[in-house]
């Protein structure tokens, strides 16, 4: 019993779908659409009778061979493979929030920075501890600033100067000590974070440089 043209075509397309199934839905529909159009155009130009249709399908070749050809095509051409260097975005944000964030959104930015710091994959635990302590808004800075008050309140120095027969003693030196200590503490409060930030940055960068660049495979989901 001879098949009709439509039967021949739909049977061929079913075989094609079945054979292409391992390739995935996207590639299967792309192939099926292209070949379906081919068949329609061929029939329009050459004729719709079963004999002609059979020859058109014969020239197309077995669906299994088409599927095999499609599976032979590499999914990602060699020259299009991308190597992406490890990104240090996380570390940049952490250091920025920890150090400068306090000037923009005090405390909250620091909390965010601490969260990022603790989640960082490129720092050891003691490096993270350092990052938490020695930054503006961090505990050490706070402790230091508080103690400045204590220092200026309680430090006094008596100095006596011999002038002639008199001894003039003055209680002063608060300002000397105060100034000296103040400068030192301010130095720690402001330079410390810079040093810590730099330390964290170079540590992370050094570790990132040792990491393998990872492959980013191209996505073919969207047709051009």
């Amino acid at each position: 019993m001879a098949q009709t043209s439509d039967e021949l075509i739909s049977s061929y397309l079913s075989r094609l779908h079945a054979a292409c199934w391992p390739l995935g839905e996207a590639r299967t529909s792309e192939l099926a659409e292209g070949i379906d159009e081919h068949i329609q155009d061929a029939v329009a130009e050459l004729g719709n009778d079963p004999a002609t249709v059979a020859e058109i399908l014969d020239r197309l070749g077995p669906p299994e061979r088409i599927a095999h050809e499609a599976s032979e095509q590499p999914p990602a051409p060699a020259e299009a493979v991308l190597l992406e260097k490890p990104s240090l975005t996380h570390e940049i944000w952490t250091i920025a929030l920890l150090s400068i964030g306090g000037f923009v959104i005090p405390f909250i930015a620091w909390i965010a920075g601490v969260v990022l710091l603790l989640n960082g994959k490129r720092w050891l635990w003691w490096e993270k501890l350092l990052g938490i302590l020695i930054v503006p808004g961090g505990p050490l800075g706070g402790i230091i600033l508080l103690s400045i008050g204590q220092v200026t309140g309680h430090t006094t120095v008596r100095s006596c100067v011999l002038t002639g027969t008199d001894t003039t003693c003055t209680t002063s030196g608060q300002s000397h000590v105060w100034t000296g200590l103040y400068v030192l503490l301010l130095g720690i409060v402001f330079l410390g974070p810079i040093a810590t930030g730099a330390f964290l940055w170079f540590r992370a960068k050094g570790r990132a440089a040792l990491e393998q660049p990872h492959l980013v495979s191209l996505s073919y989901a969207s047709p051009r």
Binding site: E30, L31, E37, I66, Q73, P74, P223
Partner: protein, 113 residues
């Protein structure tokens, strides 16, 4: 299958892609038309359907793009066209092919003398 056919089929597969690019250089073509012109070249295409997986790969590579155009009778038709990258690939292949062909000819023809 004869051994000769196998050897040549490897070569065919390598050049087929660039033959497609060459045909598309003039103007965009729809699938059936493109395949028919390829089939005119003796021995280039064994099974016409295998051109379509090739076209898919060329599209993924960015050498070919598909557009739709109205046809006189029926639904819009898919046309395959060359991209600038495809044009460049064709030019490079043509240069290499000519050099290669000349060298191979020299070797083969010398043997047969």
């Amino acid at each position: 299958m004869e051994p000769g056919a196998t050897r040549l089929s490897q070569l065919r597969r390598g050049v087929l892609e660039h033959c497609v690019l060459a045909l598309l250089e003039e103007e965009p073509l729809y699938g059936f038309d493109l395949v028919r012109r390829l089939a005119d070249v003796e021995g280039l295409v064994i099974s016409e359907g295998t051109v379509y997986p090739l076209l898919s790969r060329m599209r993924r590579e960015g050498h070919v793009t598909t557009t739709w155009a109205e046809s006189e009778n029926g639904p819009p038709r898919r046309y395959y066209a060359l991209t600038p990258d495809g044009r460049t690939a064709l030019q490079e292949f043509t240069r290499e092919w000519i050099t290669f062909r000349t060298s191979v000819d020299r070797l083969l023809l010398k043997e047969n003398r």
